[in-house]
């Protein structure tokens, strides 16, 4: 008979084993590095064009740093979502889910281990962005602020997107459907950023931006980097991203507990 201590220890060991396997698959297998090559190329183009603008005034330098941070958060989040959305539905497509479910690892540990691999992409993407941020921000003394704010807000959004992608992946019958639904959801979350400024300034528009974790997080980053406001002053804008991250993780774990060989089947 297993004791609760034995179960929890096995559970802890289980997600570590899954995480190690997934990390090896992602990084040693090469997928992660190729994604980073494409991402770094994008950052290089935008950063070089920004850096060589001879007429850049002071505020536009701050905006250049802000754009780089927002690009890092957006693309890093996208990479996390792509990996998370393929995490379980991809196993179904490849026919390896059954083998995985037969291992002495709880379903929740399985999903937690896969989320670790997805999150590793975010941290790697941010690590790649640090030299660009340091270079762009050195003229306006923003390096530390940009790195701390970008890492904090980006991690919140990455956790939210990882939970969202994993939840969809657990319930999707195929990887294609999971990716499509995940990307559609990502576009919907980004949509409020495209609202006209007059709508964004209205009370309904502001509330929509505060509820949406992406717009709230990016707004906070802009206020700190471009406007130079103290980080604590606009901290209420982070309520949305924090709640969204907590909710996404809770939903993903709840769905993971009922993970079945076929979506909707008995666990």
């Amino acid at each position: 008979m297993t004791t609760p201590t034995d179960s929890s220890a096995r559970s802890v060991a289980g997600w570590l084993v899954v995480a190690e396997r997934e990390l090896r698959d992602l990084w040693v297998g090469g997928r992660g590095l190729w994604l980073l090559v494409a991402y770094a190329s994008l950052l290089s183009v935008t950063s070089y064009l920004t850096a060589t603008d001879q007429a850049l005034n002071f505020l536009e330098q701050r905006e250049a740093v802000n754009v780089t941070v927002q690009l890092t958060v957006a693309v890093g989040g996208l990479l996390v979502l792509l990996v998370a959305a393929d995490a379980v539905s991809g196993e179904r497509d490849r026919g390896t889910l059954e083998t995985l479910l037969l291992t002495p690892v709880s379903r929740r540990s399985l999903v937690v281990g896969k989320s670790v691999a997805a999150m590793s992409l975010w941290f790697a993407a941010f690590g790649v962005a640090v030299p660009y941020l340091a270079y762009l921000a050195r003229g306006v003394d923003l390096t530390g602020v940009a790195i701390v704010v970008g890492l904090g807000v980006g991690t919140l959004l990455a956790v939210c997107l990882a939970g969202y992608g994993l939840a969809i992946s657990c319930r999707s019958g195929s990887s294609r459907f999971s990716l499509a639904l995940s990307l559609f959801g990502l576009l919907a979350i980004f949509a409020p950023t495209q609202l006209p400024a007059s709508v964004q300034r209205a009370w309904a528009g502001e509330w929509l931006q505060r509820i949406d974790p992406i717009t709230a997080g990016l707004h906070y980053v802009s206020e700190v980097i471009v406007s130079g406001r103290p980080p604590a002053r606009d901290a209420t804008w982070l309520i949305g991203p924090v709640l969204a991250a907590v909710l996404a993780v809770a939903v993903a774990l709840a769905i993971a507990g009922r993970l079945a060989l076929r979506p909707g089947g008995r666990p």
Binding site: R21, R24, D25, W27, V28, G29, G30, R31, L33, W34, L36, V37, A40, S41, L43, S44, V45, S47, Y48, T50, A51, T52, D53, Q54, A55, L56, N57, F58, L59, Q61, A64, V128, P131, Y132, Y135, L136, G139, V140
Partner: protein, 210 residues
Amino acid sequence: MTVMLGSRMSVAQGVPTLRWLALIVLLALPAATPLGRTAPPARAVTASGSALAVELGTVTVSAELGQRFTFVSTIRNTGAAASTPAVAHLDVLSLDPDVYVDPEDWSADRTQYLDPTPAGSSTPVSWTVRAVNSGRLLIYVTVVEPELRDAVAVSAPLRLTVAPRDRLAGPGALPLAVGVPAVLLALALATGRRRRSLSRAGPASDTTTG
């Protein structure tokens, strides 16, 4: 003829006096009549129809790019009656035609609404700006009394010199832009090569999946 001669001799005798008198009148004329406009006060211009004058407490400022500074403008009522409600507005321009200045970047609060100023008194108006462009610039304040037509008072300019910072386009831009993707590409290629060599070695030594 005698009369005529007499008249001529009378006129001839009075001509020098008349000439001196004309000369005196011509010399005194400019002083007596306002032929030139009175020069305005060195730091204030009062518009016609308005008794308000705008003065800046500071004439020149030197700053660094990105530096915030505050200066005060004084709205003085030079008239005998209280002014009407006024609107003060701040503007910035560059003396370098190649520098584009967006005043919104300098200050988000460039318009202030003022209560009527009593006769003979003054109202201080404080402005805080951030120097977001480098070079030589001018800052000035205008005051409008909307209830008075064509009444715009403008201050003398505050002459601002903003020292530039080091430009971003140092020698590090291109190496960074090329180097980071190149390093990642080399890592990706090396990892792929290792994976292929392990695959050729046999399934027992292949520890990667997918």
